[in-house]
Chain length 349, copies 2
DNA sequence: CTCGCATCTGACAACGTTGTCCAGGCTCTA
DNA sequence: TAGAGCCTGGACAACGTTGTCAGATGCGAG
């Protein structure tokens, strides 16, 4: 570790690659430290002449305020953290963007990280962000136990969960109406004459997956249809597995005439499977995706408004920080059925 | 601003919502401040018994080290900044993800922001990140003058530009071979018999757009085809404008029989236009996109590896930080032509 | 039983900034 | 011209951590 040294040019040598500090600026401008601080922060009480001298010194030295020190002194970092599952997933792009917009409107920066659906990594990230003293945290949970956040929340870190509820702690959460959306989507298929309807979804330990499954079951029950075990696939949603599941339920005796796909990755794979078959089964997918309307037929989906999820969550976060908010709440945003053709195909049996 | 107060429970009241500090932990464990620091950082020279006492105090108080203070003392923040155009653009998802992976591998956090293609906002963001003392910056430039970063770079902020080169400063840059990719894509159309080929691209002030245009011209010239002014559209790439441009060049006397689309947004719009017409023109697009293979016909594209762009840039950044790197360099990554049908349609004239 | 050495521990300063508070100079009024 | 009050500027401490260095403690050897 290099020592602090005084250099020929009068700058304080330090570990930031010899960045000038306010002290250096003050020395060069021939004023006191606090006066520089005042100029930098636009505080009143500096004569125009002094201000000009200070500004010249700042420009000449290329000074930039060290926000780490500022944070240490002031206590607020004006930054919030976002933990999501995978930045590369198109569902999270608009969400993340919406959170950023709100943060920006409140003068805050966004720090984000991906949990890769790994609870341990989620925790590690969340705590790292807390150590940075982010003012708040928007979390798309990967794990189902968030008690590790309790001390942080008590210490004043605003926290909002999105897309899935927090586990074992009482916290704000913003969700889509997964149950209602799935129920409506399946009911839509039933209304078009289907009775043997398949469901391909994620592992039920994931809250959204469980809710969508519940919606499927509810719609079937409402219509008085009893569900066969082999119409359901509840597991990992890698393409191979989904493909196998789809092919199985579409073949054999008593094949399904329609499929409800539990998320956009599943939907895309099912579209591929269906495209290979002569006899088209109907399809409704949860989550919209780009180009869904350009496919033949267009894909009917239950769309959630991911950017509204992000916006709502972020706004709630800042209201927590304002002190406007007290009790944690659970907010559910409605979904929207978008009909494009694939969900309106009649049963072909 | 609340004052520092001493509370009944012995914690130092402060602006972080009364977070315990090392001092509090030390007091509770009955040891010195530095000993706590040693335990927290896993430094040697602490007897197991002392360590246990300290650890108990940490757990009891819910202490978490304040990294702002740590940064101030140590000089490195272990975080890097990423400035991109739009988090919601699917092109940037994998790029951002790749940068994050590399950062994570180096124990660094990623802070990111969107410039929304606005040079002023880019500058504002970049300087805000520098004020946070990020160790490095990965920038997808919106502006074309980056001299504002010179003091920062001199001060030791590692900087790498991606996707487009930096303006008016000498810095590392990682690009796709936009020129070569476009030339190959257009040559592919020519090889399939087309001679009247349209080009719809972004404003030439954007480097990638200019390069792709240059590739288009080069391929045409190589084939001895002279380009008509009305085959080219070089402007904003909002859907309406692209639609109008495409319709114009596909109609009238001497219509184009093929279109080269300058980016994925353009491609998607052109696909829509072509889908409405009986006589299909050929299409090759720059940038791959999800489901391109599922459309009828599949869309032939010049694909760039956005995650390789991100990875390469981030790795270079950390090599700058290692001190392994000296002179700025320009790295060009190859593109790949993916044939799916739309680019192999014969001319229909 | 004492000395010497190794091992642990803690006091203190420093990182760069901002809040507090006081000093000095100025203007304005009586 | 003297006094009151205001405005500007600067000295100093504090934020929570880590590096330095010296002191304390314990143990073994002579």
């Amino acid at each position: 570790m290099p020592q602090t040294t005084r250099r020929a040019d009068g700058l304080t040598g330090n570990r930031y690659g010899n960045r000038p500090t306010m002290k250096d600026v003050a020395a060069r401008a021939g004023v006191g430290l606090k006066t520089v601080s005042r100029v930098v922060n636009g505080e009143p009480g500096v004569t125009p002449d002094t201000e000009r001298r200070v500004q010249e010194a700042i420009d000449a030295l290329g000074f930039r305020r060290n926000d780490s020190a500022r944070v240490l002194r002031k206590g607020r970092t004006a930054s919030i953290g976002l933990i999501l599952e995978d930045l590369a997933d198109p569902f999270y792009g608009p969400l993340s963007r919406a959170v950023e917009e709100v943060a920006r409107a409140h003068g805050a920066l966004l720090i984000n990280g991906s949990s890769a659906e790994d609870p341990e990594r989620e925790q590690e990230l969340a705590l790292a962000l807390c150590a940075r003293r982010v003012d708040g945290l928007v979390v798309i949970p990967a794990g189902d136990d968030h008690r590790y956040l309790e001390p942080e929340i008590r210490a004043g870190v605003a926290t909002v969960f999105v897309d899935r509820p927090a586990g074992r702690i009482d916290a704000d959460v913003v969700l889509s109406d997964n149950f209602g959306g799935a129920r409506d989507g399946v009911a839509h298929l039933i209304a078009h004459g289907h009775r043997r309807i398949g469901f391909i979804g994620d592992m039920p330990r994931i809250h959204t997956a469980a809710e969508r499954l519940r919606g499927y079951r509810a719609a079937m029950e409402d219509a008085g249809i009893s569900v066969a075990e082999r119409w359901m696939s509840l597991g990992a949603t890698d393409p191979e597995r989904v493909r196998r599941a789809a092919e199985e339920m579409l073949a054999g005796p008593d094949p399904v005439t329609a499929v409800f796909a539990g998320n956009n990755r599943v939907t895309v794979t099912v579209v591929r499977v269906l495209a290979e078959r002569a006899r088209r089964a109907a399809l409704v997918g949860f989550d919209d995706f780009e180009l869904a309307d350009l496919l033949q037929p267009g894909v009917t989906v239950v769309a959630q408004d991911s950017s509204a999820l992000g916006r709502t969550a972020a706004e709630r976060l800042f209201r927590q920080l304002d002190g406007t908010l007290v009790a944690p709440e659970r907010i559910e945003l409605p979904t929207r059925l978008i009909t494009r053709g694939s969900g309106e195909l009649p049963p072909a049996d």
